[in-house]
């Protein structure tokens, strides 16, 4: 069997690689963002679940757990994928999450700021997003099937392919 690798990085750390047919799942994406990257040739992919846009709010925590923040988690996540054999030009990128409370002043708009932080990093690095499922007031669960590159979102009792 060909070795397929899935990585899952989230607020609680990094989990080890998986094999073909495994489904990587991240639950409870509220304002958080779930970033899926997948190299369909090397079959290397994973999900990054980050919570906040900017690590400067707590550099100490970012040092312990860089996956919590967009600015520290995203570059590291791509680096990890490259180490596992992914190639940058082949990576397919999908994004889900960034839900918001009803907040006309956008004081608490972490979902929106999380999404903006990601787009800024991608724009600087020339990375294109293939599909997004962003915003709204409902939380999401995000799935990635290693091997088939099947990605889908579960929200409000419905499953939506991504």
């Amino acid at each position: 069997m060909e070795l397929n690798k899935g990585i899952l990085a989230g607020p609680t750390g990094l989990e080890p690689a998986t094999t073909i047919g495994d489904v990587v799942v991240t639950h409870a994406l509220g304002s958080c963002i779930g970033l899926v990257i997948y190299d369909p040739i090397a079959h290397v992919g994973g999900i990054l679940h980050y919570m906040l846009p900017d690590s400067t709010v707590n550099p100490e925590k970012a040092a312990k757990n860089p996956w919590m923040f967009a600015d520290t988690g995203i570059p590291l996540f791509f680096k990890k994928a490259y180490e596992l054999g992914a190639g940058k030009p082949r990576l397919v990128v999908r994004v889900a999450g960034g839900a918001q409370l009803l907040d006309p002043n956008e004081f608490f708009a972490i979902g929106k700021r999380n999404h903006m932080a990601l787009r800024k990093i991608f724009w600087k690095n020339g990375i294109m997003i293939m599909a997004e499922h962003i915003g709204g007031v409902a939380s999401r669960t995000l799935f990635l099937e290693i091997g088939d590159e099947k990605v889908w979102v579960q929200t409000g009792g419905k499953e939506v392919p991504l």
């Binding site: 679940h49 009803l102 409000g156």
Partner: protein, 292 residues
Amino acid sequence: MITIESLSRDIDQLAPIPVSLPKLARTLANPNANLHDIVGIIEYDVALTANVLRMANSAAFAPRNSILTVRDAVVWLGAGRVLQLAVGDHAKGILGQPCSGYDLTERELWHHSVAAALGADLLRRFTTEHIPPVAFTAALLHDIGKLIVSRRISDDLRRQINRLVEREQLPFFEAERAVLGINHAEIGGVIAKRWSFPKILVDCIALHHNPDGEGIVSPALDAVHIGNVVAKTLAIGMGSEQMNMVACANAARRLKLTPEKFEALCANVMVDFPKVEELFDGAKHGLQHSYR
């Protein structure tokens, strides 16, 4: 429609709260209360005494020497912390139940309550306003009204609420009020009042969705509101309400929060959540993501 008069029986069916807890809350709300009064209330309740001693000697508070008396435990933990722990220990049994009327499975409402309480408590690190210890307790109990609504609500009423949320774009608690005549926050306030908790705690629960609305401005109420916003932002215990609540920026401004401080507060809650859960449950919260 649910009327306040019709709630008595439902409230009685919730696990009755030991009289010592509201008594302790009332004593702590009194600025003239002294250590002797507080120790007296705890010692009168054998179960509470055992609990306070257990908590004081737990790894979370790690005393250098074993704590053997209630007086030493109160001095070591602080009276406010004793109330928080005692109410939390009692509430976990009630709030840990499934709340199917809100699509909350077993322990989801408890997790949400702990996250909100932690949010209200950790706010102290980010504000110069005085947040009284009762804010933690009120945030822990803020959604207790959902347990009553969950028992009373029919599928048809749930559909009506969801229709108002989807079609009229009403916040969930307003749709609830439009359909039921009362919302879960107001029912929570009725429960707290019936349990003889002090007025500040009753108000914090009853108005947790509306800290601007009733002319009652208090840092405790603002803290409970922000605590709930934190728990929702982190998607801890969402249920059918999801993130469909109005987040009040005025409450944050009164507490001198900034959007950056709010983000830092969320990070702190996420990091401390497993420790608090372990303190109450003896087990840590599972990962928010997994392989299958």
